[in-house]
């Protein structure tokens, strides 16, 4: 339980921070696409008898970088490239599952998350990756923010925008696969997107928005894990419903006009 809460909170922070850049780049569903491509990786791992998250990291990162390259090179729109990535991952996964005669139980824990079963090693891994990605974000804060705000101007100011774009894709890939244990393949984009769109309605500056998003996200994850434990319901669904609740509440407050957001 303790492990679940600690790793859940770390994943909440990670998804908020990386997700904010994706949302502001109008790339909200990219996390979802990587998650679906990781499904192919998980199936591959299960078939080959390798720890499925390792193959998921490999497959997701490689396919995310390839699709980004194709998108830039052939001028394909962002949403179309997301669709290609998303469907190819699922297709590969389904075919592999078919070939190996199915392994339904294991696959389910990856589709819907299994945070209550997270091991000590997983927890260490999650904390380490969260630390590394946060350090990278802090070190390259100006470059990440500027190229998200306006690519052309960032380029003129001397920032290597293309490299920064690949870095964001890479960080999104690592974050998604790391988060699979918490909410599963199917609900990951919720953690990337919902706390951020909620925070954008309140926050003035960028740092304030990021901190609000982290707060909303940790609240949903920690409360979600506790509530699901007490009432014995699915943690992933509970977490996502709580963050949707915060979002809906914000919309409600906004539309009454009581609080200027």
């Amino acid at each position: 339980m303790q492990r679940a809460l600690i790793s859940g909170a770390a994943i909440a922070i990670l998804c908020s921070v990386v997700g904010l850049f994706l949302v502001l780049r109008r790339y909200s569903l990219f996390g979802d696409a990587i998650a679906h491509s990781s499904f192919g990786g998980i199936a591959l791992g299960l078939m080959a008898g390798i720890y499925p998250l390792w193959t998921a990291y490999g497959v997701s990162l490689v396919s995310a970088l390839i699709i980004t390259r194709i998108k830039d090179r052939f001028n394909i729109s962002g949403d179309a490239s997301v669709a290609v990535l998303l469907s190819s991952g699922i297709a590969v996964g389904l075919v592999i599952i078919g070939i190996s005669g199915g392994f339904t139980i294991d696959i389910f824990s990856f589709l819907f998350g299994s945070i209550l079963l997270v091991s000590v090693n997983d927890t260490i891994m999650i904390l380490a990756l969260t630390g590394i990605i946060l350090i990278v974000v802090l070190l390259l804060y100006r470059q990440l923010l500027y190229s998200t705000f306006n690519e052309e101007q960032a380029q003129v100011s001397g920032i290597q925008v293309e490299k920064i774009n690949y870095l964001i894709v890479f960080m999104a890939g690592v974050t998604v696969v790391t988060s699979i244990q918490l909410v599963g393949v199917l609900l990951i984009s919720a953690l990337f997107v919902i706390p951020n769109v909620t925070a954008i309605m309140y926050g003035k500056g960028f740092k304030q928005t990021a901190l609000l998003s982290i707060t909303f996200s940790i609240f949903s994850v920690v409360t979600g894990i506790l509530v699901s434990y007490v009432f014995d319901i699915a943690p992933a669904g509970t977490i996502v419903l709580l963050s949707i609740g915060l979002f809906a509440g914000t919309i409600g407050i906004r539309s009454t006009g009581l609080v200027k957001t």
Partner: protein, 240 residues
């Protein structure tokens, strides 16, 4: 005198079109150059090539007497104000956040305050960029361009869609930057009256360079003035 910019025989071809044809001119330190020409005259192509965004050109571009193909360091000495800065309307960044994006040394944070004050947007520092009017946003983008103490300011037709009062304020700021702070300015504009008031050098561009020289010389040449005021009028009509 330091040559800030030297363009030698610049030619740019796009598929089926020659966007720029054998353009050559020099900008010296302290110049205020107004570049005029109708839409599609190649001004954006010229700027894109100067700023390293278009590398497919023939000829030579030198900033501060160094070929830009050799080093990108020249960009650190240039402030650039784009025609219409594009960003997400809901982008959660304050005016200070936006100006700070260009600040290379965190140690010079107090410079931001100073510049916001100079541009009359000090009280807007903590407002979100998307909440400001077009004229205010434009001044924020000038502040961004000035925050690293550039030697040269490049502005791409920066008054389209801005009210008259803001435009006048903007012009007086430009004049002060050039005359008091000795910043060299390259400015593309449709407003021939403003060019007459502000610029001391003029370049007329329409795929190739039709005139480059001192402002007085240009305005003495009735034929050129007529031609380019018509072009700019057409341009103006086109915009409305």
């Amino acid at each position: 005198m330091l040559k800030v910019l030297e363009i030698e025989h610049l030619t740019v071809d796009y598929p089926g079109v020659r966007a720029l044809d054998d353009v050559s001119f020099t900008v010296n330190e302290g110049d205020f150059l107004g570049i005029i020409g109708p839409n599609g005259a190649g001004k954006s192509t010229l700027f894109a090539s100067m700023l390293g965004m278009n590398t497919k050109y023939k000829g030579k571009i030198k900033f501060f007497e160094i070929d830009i193909k050799k080093s990108k360091d020249y960009l650190k000495q240039i402030g650039y104000v784009p025609q219409k800065p594009i960003f997400e309307k809901n982008f959660p960044a304050t005016v200070i956040d936006v100006v700070r994006m260009d600040l290379r040394k965190e140690s010079e944070k107090n410079k931001i305050d100073e510049i916001l004050q100079q541009l009359w947007i000090h009280e807007l520092g903590n407002r979100r960029i998307g909440e400001l009017s077009g004229g205010q946003q434009q001044r924020v983008f000038i502040a961004k361009a000035l925050v690293n103490n550039p030697k040269l300011l490049i502005l791409d037709e920066p008054v389209t869609g801005i009210d008259q009062q803001s435009t006048d304020l903007f012009y007086s700021i430009l004049k002060e930057l050039n005359s008091k702070q000795k910043i060299t300015i390259i400015w593309s504009s449709h407003d021939l009256d403003a060019v007459k008031q502000l610029a001391n050098h003029i370049a007329c561009l329409n795929r190739t360079l039709f005139f480059h020289g001192e402002s007085d010389e240009f305005f003495k040449n009735d034929e050129l003035v007529k031609q380019y005021s018509e072009a700019s009028m057409q341009e103006h009509m086109h915009h409305h």
